[in-house]
Amino acid sequence: MANERLFEEMTKAVIAGLPDKARELANEALHAGIDPLAAIEQGFKPGMDVVGEGFARGELFIPDLMMSSKAMQEAIAVLEPEMMKRKQHLQTLGKVVIGTVQGDIHEIGKTLVATMLAANGFEVHDLGVDVSPQQFVNAVREVNADVVGLSALLTTTMLNQEAVILTLKEAGLRDQLKVIIGGVPASPEWAKEIGADAYAENATEAVEVVKGLVQA
């Protein structure tokens, strides 16, 4: 019963976006001998789900999402050593390579998607902004990615989403992974036209779509 109360507080700390509180609760769990994996999955993670839903509905905004994921990350950092000791691993749903395409330096949307994917159990490799097609290909090879996420915020750079897909094809890698695109000017139609597998409107939707892609 005590555990359940603590889990509830963890959920609340993530929803309220309180990194210090989250760290404190994670430590409390360790002292009480609570299974760290359970603390994450039943305590902190449900908070991220609530925040993600609020964001998709337009009730919560970028600062909320960022502070909540910061709280989540702080908690995981505290719990990780104990998880290693117990040889536990967070369930990895898949490996995602993500970045903003060449010529485009917009960071926020891409980072939000990366953060939400990581918070939801994906191993995320964020290549940053202004990423060339070859850099995407190299990273895909290096980590053996399941999914590639391509962000473009400008109507002038969205053509570079297609350039990455073409370069993946040339490298013979296209068939072994899924490609998802996002960004203000992108759309489901654009995804179809350039041969991407999916499009997502926002970071919350991206999590659901990428989950679907790795299961397919």
Binding site: F61, P185, S187, E193
Partner: protein
């Protein structure tokens, strides 16, 4: 001697601002990935040609091509060391097209607004940018724009209320020009950082910013919901509407903004009915949109 821009607004006049810069410069050959600010020193004739096209279409306020002109933002293209020169020169180029302020230009009076956009960095605690550092970035830019002879400072596309405050404070540190400030409400009627039109308006009124409004954003129709909220929160402010020319779509490899000049003109008339006294267009627009708006507002 011509009237100052605030006197013109106080007299109840509606002033027409300009349209897009970035997409127009790209159409003129600016390579993708190169910021428009690079052309201020490299291709000043293209910058002046753009200003002239808007003035000929009917713009009475032209914005300097310095949206990404803070030192922080210019850094990505390695232009940060020239930040002061770029902003001052941009103001001079616009001034040259607008005419001499001591005599007024021949064809009606055109004002030069010194454009300031976000730094591109997130502020503490979400990102690395402290309030003090932000104030300094905006102060530097405003100082250079003022030195180049702008009539007012026009802060736009803000989404973080603290950054907007820092911008106003920075501008005021270095010049006594009128300051305008508009926000981009692109997330379910709020800014991406969650700021509502009423919050933005109240904050700007408290800082004695005389002209406030909405620019960029999502669909231009959304401004019809935003203006009344700002009006209610700031009954005495001059309201600005400068939305995108619709929502961008890719059609046959060409980017198309779905609002036609006729549609933008119709919307402009409705913005004015709702109390807007500065009307222009943001991304995806061209002098054709401004010409249509000018025709509609003059007849209407």
């Amino acid at each position: 001697m011509r009237a100052q821009i605030l006197q013109r607004l106080a007299s109840g006049e509606v002033l027409i601002a300009d349209g897009a810069t970035g997409t127009m410069l790209q159409a003129a050959g600016l390579p993708t990935g190169t910021p428009g600010e690079a052309w201020i020193l490299e291709r000043p004739e293209e910058i002046m040609r753009l200003h002239r096209a808007y003035v000929e279409a009917g713009s009475q306020i032209i914005l300097t091509t310095t949206f990404g002109g803070t030192r922080a933002r210019l850094k990505a293209a390695g232009l940060d060391v020239q930040a002061g020169e770029i902003n001052r020169r941009a103001a001079e180029l616009a001034r040259q097209v607008a005419g001499d302020p001591s005599t007024g230009s021949g064809q009606g009076e055109v004002y030069v607004a010194g454009d300031i956009g976000p730094t591109g960095d997130m502020m503490v605690p979400l990102g690395p940018l402290t309030y003090e550092a932000a104030v300094e970035l905006f102060a530097e830019q405003a100082q250079a724009l003022a030195a180049g002879g702008v009539d007012c400072i026009y802060i736009e596309t803000m989404s973080d209320l603290n950054e907007a405050k820092a911008a106003v404070e920075g501008v005021r540190q270095r010049c006594d020009l009128p300051v305008f400030c508009t926000f981009s409400f692109d997330a379910h009627g709020r800014t991406s950082m969650g700021v509502s039109p009423a919050q933005a308006a109240r904050t700007m009124v408290a800082l004695e910013v005389p002209a406030i409004g909405a620019n960029c954003g999502h669909a231009p129709e959304e401004v019809l919901d935003i203006l009344p909220q700002m009006r209610e929160a700031a009954p005495d402010a001059y309201l600005i509407a400068k939305p995108n020319a619709g929502v961008p779509r890719m059609v046959k490899r060409q980017v198309v903004y779905d609002a036609t000049p006729e549609r933008m003109a119709e919307l402009a008339r409705r913005y004015v009915e709702m109390g807007a006294c500065i009307v222009g267009v943001c991304c995806g627009s061209s002098p054709a949109d401004i010409a249509a708006i000018a025709a509609a507002l003059r007849i209407g």
